[in-house]
Symmetry: C2
Subunit: 313 residues, 2 copies
């Protein structure tokens, strides 16, 4: 074992930071480190928190972190900044509010920029959580804006997925139904002090009552006012109850196996994509692109030719 | 040539619809058809239109389509519904406004649902445009919500990328800067009748003046009030000017080559992903996931084993 992995396992902040940067940049050394850390993972509770921009996710994460700390649990926070040109600045702005935890060595916070990643978002975020798990954090909160497919997948790769809604965001709750039901273990109605909150919560609750159980668990719904730290305790409890339910019914393993199947497929695809970028040379690709642009060759024929040349065919 | 391809080339609405469904579902027959259609593509102007939810993209697309029709040009519209649980219903709702074109055989409108696609969004949308190009549409408008990475990539795969902004969406225009500059050929400030529009437009214009030229083109900025059909004519003109500039400076081909390089890489990755799902058997993956969940094997070792078994290693 290298001293880098040992230092991560000992909770060394700089070693952890370096590990997350290596993952972020897609550096080869990350894989070597992750493999060494892997046997030491599986202890942390990994909680994915997603919601629309402006739903108050970051504040909620901040309050949850505070609560876990008061209970003596250590916390890792991974905030995914999808680097969409339209949401780019907002999330990093929210992070400034987290400075309250800056002096607390029991909290590790990392905002992951994703500019230039096309795909791989969910997998890399899961790897960041894997480092923090190995580093001994008790709870890992993975925060992501629920705006695109990859972003939602980030939250799905957690053990427990929390979906944050706000009253009035969906004029028609029915529109949200199918997609949310598939991913949420716990719903939060944040900003529950807004005038419309009661009606919104009732609609959601009616929807949840019709939902089938999944792994013996029916999604919970909890109102919060994150900015006032209201409702955080019952939320933390619901997350713990979910974890206990999964363990207690022996279903945690089935869920974990499904989880790993999904991740292995993602990893397989990434492995192959890496091979493509390594083995297909740039000049050959240029030549093929010129032929395709001139309509002399169709893109599928070009790709098959490139694969054959790279010996992957 | 099969009669399916012939019917698409003849502009047969049912044949086109079937082709887009095949692409949407990722059916193998789509590739066969696309290869036959490919030599007949490259004639249409493909315009990507992206913006945050609520920016009025759909109305703008509707008005642009109306304008092109009055000029005698045929139009294809591909609207990508990213199926994020948070935005799920909104785009399809917008489509209802398009019904004004329903009786016009010169407009083909298709909303593409993307539920269950992980990755491949940009590539499949580009393939849909490829069908409409072959089918003889003069202008193809590809509309996507600029919310996630894949969604933004959709707009980048067009010949000309239009980014729709609304006053007040960015309190701090600077935050939007880097990402938008990379993708936009034309900026639209929609809802330009809002009180704050003047200030917003001035800020953006100042930003654009500092931007470097790209391919000899500096992004234009055009105010519109799409709902009133104001500003659509200058916008359509700017799009035409962009196309002419790219052609006139002989740069279109360079841009097209870069475009095809990016698409070939995406296609290579998809090809390999398809091979993974075909050659890795489900039971082997189950067995590996169980070992990984139990921490008996690390995910990288599992993936390498799976690739070796599938003969791809």
């Amino acid at each position: 074992m290298t001293s880098w992995a040992e230092r991560v396992l000992a909770g060394d902040v700089r070693a952890i930071s370096r590990a997350l940067s290596a993952i972020e940049d897609g550096r080869a050394e990350a894989e070597h480190l992750l493999r060494q850390l892997f046997p030491h993972t599986g202890r942390a509770a990994i909680v994915g928190i997603t919601g629309a921009p402006g739903s108050g996710k970051s504040t909620l994460v901040d309050r949850l972190a505070g609560r876990y700390r008061r209970e003596g649990r250590t916390v890792g926070i991974v905030a995914v900044d999808p680097s969409s040109p339209f949401t780019g600045g907002a999330i990093l702005g929210d992070r400034i509010r987290m400075q309250g935890h800056a002096a607390d060595r029991g909290v590790f916070i990392r905002s992951m920029a994703t500019r230039g990643w096309l795909g791989g978002l969910a997998e890399r975020t899961a790897e960041a959580a894997w480092v923090l798990d190995a580093a001994g954090k008790d709870v890992i909160l993975v925060e992501t804006v629920g705006v695109g497919q990859d972003e939602v997948e980030v939250a799905r790769l957690a053990d427990c997925t929390v979906v944050v809604l706000v009253p009035g965001m969906g004029d028609d709750v029915q529109n949200l139904k199918a997609g949310l039901m598939e991913i949420a273990d716990v719903f939060v109605v944040n900003k529950a002090d807004l005038p419309d909150a009661g009606r919104f919560e009732r609609q959601l609750r009616a929807m949840l009552e019709m939902a089938p159980e999944r792994d013996g668990w029916r999604p919970r719904l909890l109102p919060t006012v994150a900015i006032e730290d209201q409702g955080t305790a019952p939320l933390a409890e619901a997350i713990d109850q979910f974890a206990a339910a999964m363990r207690g019914k022996g279903r945690e393993s089935q869920r974990r196996i499904e989880h790993w199947k999904r991740r292995l497929v993602l990893l397989l695809e990434r492995r192959l994509a890496e091979r493509v970028s390594r083995q297909i040379d740039e000049r050959a690709l240029d030549a093929l692109a010129i032929q395709v642009a001139a309509r002399e060759k169709d893109p599928y024929a070009a790709v098959d030719e490139a694969l054959a040349k790279a010996g992957i065919a």
